[in-house]
Amino acid sequence: MQKDIQQSSVISLDHVFFRYEDGKKVLEDITFHLNKGDFMGIVGPNGSGKSTLMKLILGLNVPSKGEINLFGQPLQKFKEWNKIGYVAQQAAHGASGFPATVREVVSSGLVGKVGMFRRLTAEHRQQVADVIERVGLSAKINERISNLSGGQLQRVFIARALVSEPELLILDEPTVGVDQESIQQFYELLRSLKDETGMTMVIVSHDVSVMMEWVNKVACLQRRLHFHGTTEEYEHNQEEIFRSMYGDSVRLLTHNH
C-alpha cells in the first residue's frame, strides 16, 4: 500500500531539513507529496526558503536531513533528469547579453535527453521549432535573445524547459519582471500544457493573488511548511495560515483587483 502511494507521487519529501554550513537553518521539517497532474503553488515571503526548496528537489542542494523521492526513486539514485523541466528564478537576468538565438537557447534544453557525444537530429530540430511555436515565438526564432522583451525571454526559458517533454515542470518566480498581460498569457499556456499532457507543475511565486486562480494545491513556506493542501482549504483558512506564518501582529489585508 505504502509502495503504491510512493509510485504515483511525483515529488515526495519526508521530514526534510536544510541548513547552511555556518549552521543557519533554512528549511525545517518539510513533508509533502505531489501527485501526477497536480499544479502546486508555493508561497512565502522573501528569504523563506522557497528557492532553496526548489534546489533541493532538483538535486542542486543536498538536504541536511530527511529524504526526497522523485518519481518514486530516492533523489540520490535518480537519473532521469530529462523528466524534469526547470525555469530558474531570473534565469533571464544574466543571460540576456549572451550572443545566442532563441533557437540555440531552446535547443540547449535537449542536451540531457540527446546525450553525450550525440548530435541533434532533424526530428530534434523539429521539436525545437514546435515548442517555440507553442510559446508563440516563431517569428523570433532566429533573433538574438538580447533583442527580446522580458516577457518574450521568459517564454524562451519556458520553451527550453519544455522541449525535452518533461513530466514535471518546476518554475521558480517565472513572472518577475514580466508585464501583466504576459503573465496572463503565461498561465494560460501552463494550463493548456497541463490539460494536454497531464504534466505535474510546481510554481514559486510571490504574486499570490494571480497564481491562486490557476493552481490546485498550495504550500505556504516560512522556514517550515505552515500549510499545504488544496486551494479551497487555503482560502477557508487563510487568516489562520497568515497568523501562523507572520505572527499575531500582522493583520490580513485583502485587496480587490
Binding site: 542542486l60 537519473k79 530529462n82 550572443p99 540547449s108 540527446v114
Partner: protein, 279 residues
C-alpha cells in the same frame, strides 16, 4: 615574395601553424569570453612560459632531456595550471576571477626563478615570449596539429554540452550534464592550445588572439554559431596578414598579428557606429 612561403620549409611550417591557430584559438576564445573567463588565457600562458623555462633548464642540466622539446613541458605545466584554476575557482566561489591572477603570478614567478637558476639560456627565449616566424619546427607543427584534431573533435562531439554549460551552468546540471567533466576538459583544451601556439604568436600574445577576434565578432554576430565563425574569419585574416607583413618588414610576428586583429576590431566598431549614424 609570396612564393617564399612555399619554397622555404620553415615558412611553410609557420604558415600552416598560423592557419591552425587561427582556427582553434577563436573557437575556444568564444566560449571563454561568454563565460567571462577571457583572462584565463593570460594566466595559463604565463604558466606555460614557466614550463618552457623548466624544459630548457632540465635539458641544459640533464643530457637525457636535451632531446625533449621544451614545448612539451610547457603543455604539461599549462594543463596542471588549468586544473589548479578549476580547483581555485571552487575554493573561491564568490571570487572566481581571483584564480587567474594567482596562477599568473605563480607562473611568472616560477619563470623568473628558473631563468635565474639556469643563468640564462642559449636558446632564444625571446621567440617564446613574442613569437617568431623562423623558429617553428616540424615537431612544433605536429604538436599543434594534434591539439587541433582534439579541439575540433571535441567541438564536433560535445558542442551542445559546451554551449549548455556556457549559457547556463545550473540548467545544464539539472539536465544531467556533467558540468565538472565538461569544464575540466575545456580547460585542458585551452591549456594545450596555448602551449602549442606559443612558438608562433608567443606566450604573451596568444591571449590576444584568443580574445580580440571574438571581441570583434560579438559586435556583429546574430547567433552563437555565427560568433564562432566570424571570430575564425577575423583570426585567419589577422594571422595571414600579420605573418606576411612580419616577414616583409622584419617585424615580430606575434605583435604584427595582434595589431592586425586590433585594426579589424576597430574597423568593426567604426563600421557599426557608421551604420547606426546613417540610419
Amino acid at each position: 615574395m609570396l612564393a617564399d612561403w612555399w619554397n622555404y620549409e620553415f615558412l611553410r611550417y609557420t604558415l600552416f601553424s598560423g592557419i591552425i591557430i587561427g582556427l582553434i584559438a577563436p573557437i575556444l576564445g568564444t566560449f571563454l569570453i561568454v563565460r567571462r573567463l577571457s583572462m584565463m588565457a593570460d594566466g595559463l600562458s604565463h604558466v606555460t612560459l614557466s614550463g618552457v623555462a623548466f624544459g630548457m633548464l632540465i635539458s641544459k642540466k640533464i643530457a637525457f632531456f636535451s632531446v625533449v622539446n621544451p614545448l612539451f613541458f610547457g603543455m604539461l605545466f599549462s594543463v596542471i595550471g588549468s586544473l589548479f584554476i578549476e580547483r581555485l575557482r571552487k575554493v573561491y566561489r564568490a571570487y572566481q576571477d581571483l584564480a587567474i591572477p594567482i596562477i599568473l603570478s605563480t607562473g611568472l614567478g616560477l619563470f623568473t626563478v628558473l631563468v635565474s637558476i639556469a643563468d640564462g639560456f642559449n636558446q632564444d627565449l625571446y621567440s617564446y615570449l613574442f613569437g617568431s616566424i623562423v623558429t617553428v619546427t616540424f615537431e612544433d607543427l605536429l604538436a599543434l596539429l594534434g591539439v587541433a584534431v582534439v579541439v575540433l573533435g571535441t567541438m564536433f562531439l560535445m558542442y551542445k554540452e559546451l554551449f549548455a554549460v556556457s549559457f547556463d551552468e545550473e540548467f545544464a546540471r539539472v539536465s544531467g550534464v556533467s558540468r565538472r567533466t565538461i569544464n575540466l576538459w575545456f580547460m585542458v583544451l585551452v591549456a594545450l592550445t596555448i602551449a602549442a601556439s606559443m612558438r608562433i604568436v608567443g606566450v604573451l600574445l596568444i591571449s590576444a588572439l584568443i580574445t580580440i577576434p571574438v571581441a570583434a565578432s560579438l559586435q556583429i554576430a546574430r547567433s552563437f554559431k555565427q560568433a564562432i565563425i566570424y571570430a575564425i574569419v577575423f583570426a585567419e585574416i589577422s594571422v595571414l596578414t600579420g605573418l606576411y607583413l612580419a616577414y616583409m618588414l622584419n617585424w615580430a610576428s606575434g605583435g604584427t598579428i595582434v595589431l592586425v586583429a586590433v585594426i579589424i576590431l576597430l574597423l568593426v566598431l567604426g563600421g557599426k557606429r557608421l551604420r547606426a549614424m546613417l540610419r
